[in-house]
């Protein structure tokens, strides 16, 4: 692939200082898997942290040695000459705590028991993630990020960074996000969780010891999620009412192309993703609500922020609709923050933030050029 950061290697950082979660739970020791691209400049001012969404991880750009197909999930955004230009920025991707791609999570071994944490792994919040990411920044010697960015749940982390560590973020790039989930959003997450929780192979979260994986539940959860990340139009364009065999079968096998697609996506996901991680991620989404401690007043919540912001939404995103981004923008306006907001016309629904899109990338590039203009390379 052109303009790729090329071959990358995942790294691992160990933290021996206990981390106290919002829930009160304590993790005495943990590891975070991360990747970096580009070079940290002399005064350590060109670092960008990329936060991932529900199913993402630290492998953001490039590919692994000997596996050219293992392309990072935001490779179209990050690389030499791309909007997040690795010739100028030092970019960090990190697998969140509770993840299943190398960072300590439910499938990791609990040193106390010698078995996977499973159900014993604490429920993680966005605040907890930001806390753990800040410790990674400390280890890497980064006092202040040029930018913290992310889409969806990743955008929530970017926002939280600006609230938890106002002095450590110069720019927050909040893409396809919301200041909190709506009841409808939580409802979707709960159906997904129920699919997993009621799978007989789930075993209360301790399925590892039983030699099984709650694949059926995870698959259903992913199928449901996937529907909500697309738009009605995108699905109609891609699949319409097409039948795989061209005629009705009068049964319950896969007939419509959309069924085939969703089941394929569900199976693929269930083959590599951890069910407990999925539960944790959806819970973190549900809990995120910086205005909660201010009686729902988002203006007050953002009064702590000191960074500048770029907020981006997509017209066909009904899971995190443009109106939700406007709530963020308005709260920033009321706090006199520097903020720009772009509403991108895109057909791909919530997933648009991951897509190659000329105007969207032009907006990102323009903003990040500005960010890069503020430090000497």
């Amino acid at each position: 692939m052109d303009n790729s950061v090329g071959t990358v290697t995942a790294q691992r950082a160990t933290f021996d200082m206990p981390l106290t979660f919002r829930s009160g739970a304590v993790l005495p020791r943990y590891e975070l898997a991360y990747e970096t691209y580009g070079t940290l400049n002399q005064d350590r001012s060109n670092a960008i942290l990329v936060c991932h969404a529900l199913s993402g991880n630290h492998h953001v750009a490039g590919h692994y040695a000997g596996d050219p197909k293992s392309v990072g999930w935001w490779d179209n955004m990050i690389g030499p000459g791309k909007p997040v230009d690795t010739d100028r920025f030092f970019v960090i991707g990190v697998n969140n705590l509770g993840g299943c791609h190398g960072s300590t999570g439910p499938s990791s071994i609990d040193p106390k028991t010698g078995k996977p944490y499973g159900a014993a792994f604490p429920v993680v919040t966005v605040e907890d993630w930001v806390e753990s990411q800040a410790r990674l920044a400390d280890q890497l010697g980064i006092r202040q990020f040029a930018a913290v960015m992310g889409g969806s749940l990743g955008g929530m982390q970017a926002m939280q960074w600006s609230l938890s560590f106002p002095e450590r973020v110069r720019h927050g790039l909040v893409i396809a996000a919301a200041p909190h989930l709506t009841a409808e959003n939580i409802a979707f997450n709960d159906v997904a969780r129920n699919a997993i929780l009621t799978d007989p192979d789930f075993h209360g979260g301790d399925f590892y010891g039983h030699g099984v994986v709650p694949k059926r539940g995870l698959r259903l959860a992913r199928m449901l999620g996937h529907i909500t990340y697309l738009s009605d139009n995108a699905m109609a364009d891609k699949f319409g009412r097409s039948l795989r065999s061209g005629k009705l079968g009068y049964g319950y096998d896969i007939e419509f192309e959309i069924e085939s697609y969703l089941r394929y996506q569900g199976d693929k996901f269930a083959s590599y993703f951890d069910a407990n991680t999925y539960l944790l991620m959806t819970k973190a989404l549900d809990y995120f609500d910086p205005a909660r401690v201010y009686d729902g007043n988002l203006d007050k919540a953002f009064s702590a922020a000191r960074s500048d912001f770029l907020v981006v939404s997509f017209t066909t995103d009904w899971r995190f609709a443009p109106e939700r981004s406007r709530e963020i923008v308005n709260a920033l306006l009321h706090n006199h923050r520097n903020v720009s907001y772009a509403e991108i016309a895109s057909t791909h629904g919530h997933d648009s933030f991951l897509m190659q899109h000329e105007h969207y990338h032009a907006v990102m590039r323009a903003y990040l050029d500005r960010v890069a203009g503020e430090f000497s390379s």
């Binding site: 923008v329 308005n330 306006l333 009321h334 720009s340 016309a345 907006v363 323009a366 500005r370």
Partner: protein, 204 residues
């Protein structure tokens, strides 16, 4: 932007200099239909304003970001509901009034959100425009560069029209500057001025 760029910009857009002259250092400004952000950038550089622009066009959003100004993508015609009352010292509408569909509610919104409003617009009463109409054609000029069939301008007016409009809306005109090119016009402004800039507030 350098001082030279500013001089060039002020020459190209005389209404910019007129607007800037009314805006004190450090004021807060909302620029509606801010285009590529040139005016905001000019005011930021010359008046240190804290400013935001509202703009609908995609290429202009990118241009504003490149210009280093805050821009919020949105449609003026659907109101300024995201902005709190009295949030800004000045709300600007530069060369956009004539292209707005809901002109009356927009001017009301300007004065809800801002302490003062400033608008600039091409004077349809300018003698060259009148000559065109007398000759039987819609005017096409530097200030009105469109053909009748592709113009975004749906609410063209003269100085007299705008002042009548303000009276009807109980809006007090505080100041006015009429220009042709970059020179100020004092004599028979509604006939001899091609561009008008008004500064106004809610009726007192």
């Amino acid at each position: 932007m350098s001082a030279h760029d500013h001089a060039e910009l002020a020459a190209a857009r005389p209404d910019f200099a007129a607007i800037a002259a009314w805006i004190p250092q450090g004021a807060s400004v909302l620029d509606l239909g801010c285009g590529d952000g040139s005016l905001l950038r000019y005011l930021k550089d010359t008046r240190s304003v804290r400013g935001y622009g509202v703009e609908i066009s995609d290429p202009n959003i990118v241009a504003c970001i490149r210009n280093g100004v805050n821009v919020i993508q949105g449609d003026l015609e659907s109101g300024l509901s995201g902005f709190e009352s009295n949030a800004f010292d000045f709300v600007l509408l530069s060369q956009t009034l004539q292209a707005t569909r809901h002109t009356e509610p927009l001017v009301q919104e300007m004065l809800r959100v801002g302490r003062e409003g400033i608008v600039s617009f091409p004077n349809f009463g300018y003698w060259k425009n009148r000559m065109n109409v007398l000759r039987g054609n819609m005017p096409v000029s530097e200030e009105l560069p469109y053909q009748w069939y592709d113009t975004p301008n749906v609410h063209l007016c003269t100085l007299h029209d705008f002042e009548g409009f303000c009276r009807d809306l109980d809006v007090t005109v505080l100041d006015r500057r009429v220009m042709t090119g970059s020179s100020e016009v004092k004599l028979l402004p509604n006939l001899l001025g091609s561009t008008a800039v008004y500064r106004f507030q809610r009726g007192i």
